[in-house]
């Protein structure tokens, strides 16, 4: 089995790709880890879809402010240069293509860049979508952060999503614990292999005809 990298290492890897000056939305869950690894020499502005730019880290326990939370409803802080706005303005910012990067989790990503991350389609599940569909179609670059495989070993990179879609053809790049994949007109292109992972292994794990970056 190929060497995998930890979730923290993956967060650091993604953070390294976010350029100075970028405006970024980090989705709920694992993607929020990316905030901890943003290079200190870069000024990166975090957006939270509940209405804020320049969100800062979580506060000290005695400085929790119920009026200052992120999209995951966790307490956060305000950095110099912050701005507040209402939900319509916040989602206009997303939908209008003004965010540079968003990082999202995924159940599945298809080779044409379709994303499924909001519902497993289980008949008894209670649905909930939040801002996932807006994030998926809104940012200039949509990065997915995910394990390559589910717990039962099924690949999350697929020919076509079987789970309900979040967005069509919207994913730019997929960062997994095994490798980094760009979504291109020719399908997934492997741009980086972690540890001793090989292209052949990835092909076997996913069953996809993966190309290697030139």
């Amino acid at each position: 089995m190929a060497t995998r990298i930890s979730r923290e290492e993956l967060a650091r890897r993604i953070a390294a790709d976010i350029p100075d000056g970028a405006v970024v939305n980090l989705g709920i869950g694992a993607p929020t880890l990316v905030a901890d690894y943003l290079p200190e020499d870069r000024e990166i502005i975090l957006h939270t879809e509940n209405g804020m730019l320049a969100m800062g880290p979580k506060p000290a326990p005695d400085r929790v402010d119920p009026d200052l939370i992120n999209a995951g409803k966790q307490p956060v802080t305000e950095l110099p240069g912050a701005a507040y706005f209402h939900h319509a303005d916040s989602f206009a910012m997303m939908r209008g293509g003004h965010l540079d990067v968003c990082v999202l989790g995924a159940f599945q990503v298809s080779q044409s860049g379709d994303l499924a991350n909001w519902s497993t389609g289980a008949p008894d599940a209670i649905p909930a979508v939040g801002g996932a569909m807006d994030l998926a179609i809104g940012a200039k670059a949509v990065y997915v952060m995910t394990d390559l495989l589910t717990r039962d070993g099924t690949a999350k990179l697929v020919t076509e999503c079987s789970y309900p879609l979040t967005g069509v053809g919207c994913v730019t790049r997929v960062y997994t614990d095994h490798a980094v994949f760009d979504v291109t007109a020719r399908g997934f292109v492997v741009t980086e292999l972690f540890g001793d992972t090989t292209l052949a292994e990835l092909r076997e794990l996913t069953g996809l005809e993966l190309e290697e970056a030139e």
Binding site: E49, N50, P66, D67, E78, H86, H87
Partner: protein, 253 residues
């Protein structure tokens, strides 16, 4: 003279009838009009349609309203949460109807109602289950879904400060849906910490002009503020914080 001040929270919601469509502001605890919701619960209404981002958390606020059976239908983006057990039970029992709307479309549909827009084409949700029954259109090479306004009979909103005309300012991320819902409802009822004299709010910083507000009720400063300054000492839900070891000081209370 215009004076939208209402003396007490009960009279603020006294005329909401059975079957009303009620928008309730807030995202998490931030901007949630907790006291207005409690006053609404006390009305023991039936057949309400509620518009909110979520479908209630824990056993308070919107969840408590659902628990009373007052709500026939909820329009929201994110009902399922770790502590949405009240909604979960009602939904599984078929006792509440759900219209699930992507969060940005929810916000824009509420905005459209207030702005007199008849419908709009949004890219959000195109090609997904949530757009299945909807018209679509390709415009300049991009695919869009047609969405319609969401209007309400009443909006319950929480803001920081009001004047007697109903001009409002909010505080930090508590702004969220308030300005949109205030404009989309026939009658907008707002709870605030303080009502200040007309002319005290900077005209450049008014977020909701009074034209969108019908009633304001002042409830006093919330626990995490003192004289308008943030003092902390509460949980993210606004409850007094249980002290941990780091806080224990000799002789401290």
């Amino acid at each position: 003279m215009i004076d939208k001040t209402v003396a007490d929270i009960e009279s603020a919601v006294a005329d909401i009838p059975d079957g009303a469509v009620v928008m309730i502001g807030g995202f998490g605890r931030a901007g949630q009009p907790r006291e207005l919701i409690d006053a609404l619960i006390a009305r023991r209404l039936q057949g309400l349609t509620v518009v909110n981002n979520n479908a209630g958390n824990g056993d308070t606020g919107l969840a408590a309203l659902l628990e009373t059976g007052a709500v026939r239908k909820i329009i929201c983006s994110f009902p399922r949460q770790s502590d949405s057990w009240v909604f979960d039970r009602l939904y599984r029992a078929g006792e509440i109807e759900l219209e699930l709307v992507p969060q940005g479309n929810l916000a824009e549909r509420i905005r459209a109602a207030g702005a007199g827009i008849g419908a709009f084409y949004t890219p959000t949700g195109y090609g997904t289950q949530l757009a299945e029954a909807r018209e679509t259109r390709r415009i300049d090479g991009r695919d869009y879904v047609l969405e319609y306004p969401i209007r309400a009979d009443y909006a319950l909103v929480s803001a920081l400060t009001a004047d007697r005309w109903g001009n409002l300012v909010y505080r930090k991320t508590a702004r969220n849906f308030g300005p949109l819902m205030a404009a989309a409802a026939t009658t907008t009822i707002v709870q605030v910490d303080h009502i200040v004299p007309l002319g005290s709010i900077d005209p450049e910083a008014v977020v909701t002009p009074g034209i969108y507000v019908d009633r304001v009720v002042a409830l006093g400063e919330r626990a995490w503020l003192r004289d308008g300054e943030f003092i902390g000492g509460v949980t993210v839900e606004g409850a007094p914080r249980a002290r941990d070891h780091h806080d224990a000081r000799p002789g401290g209370d």
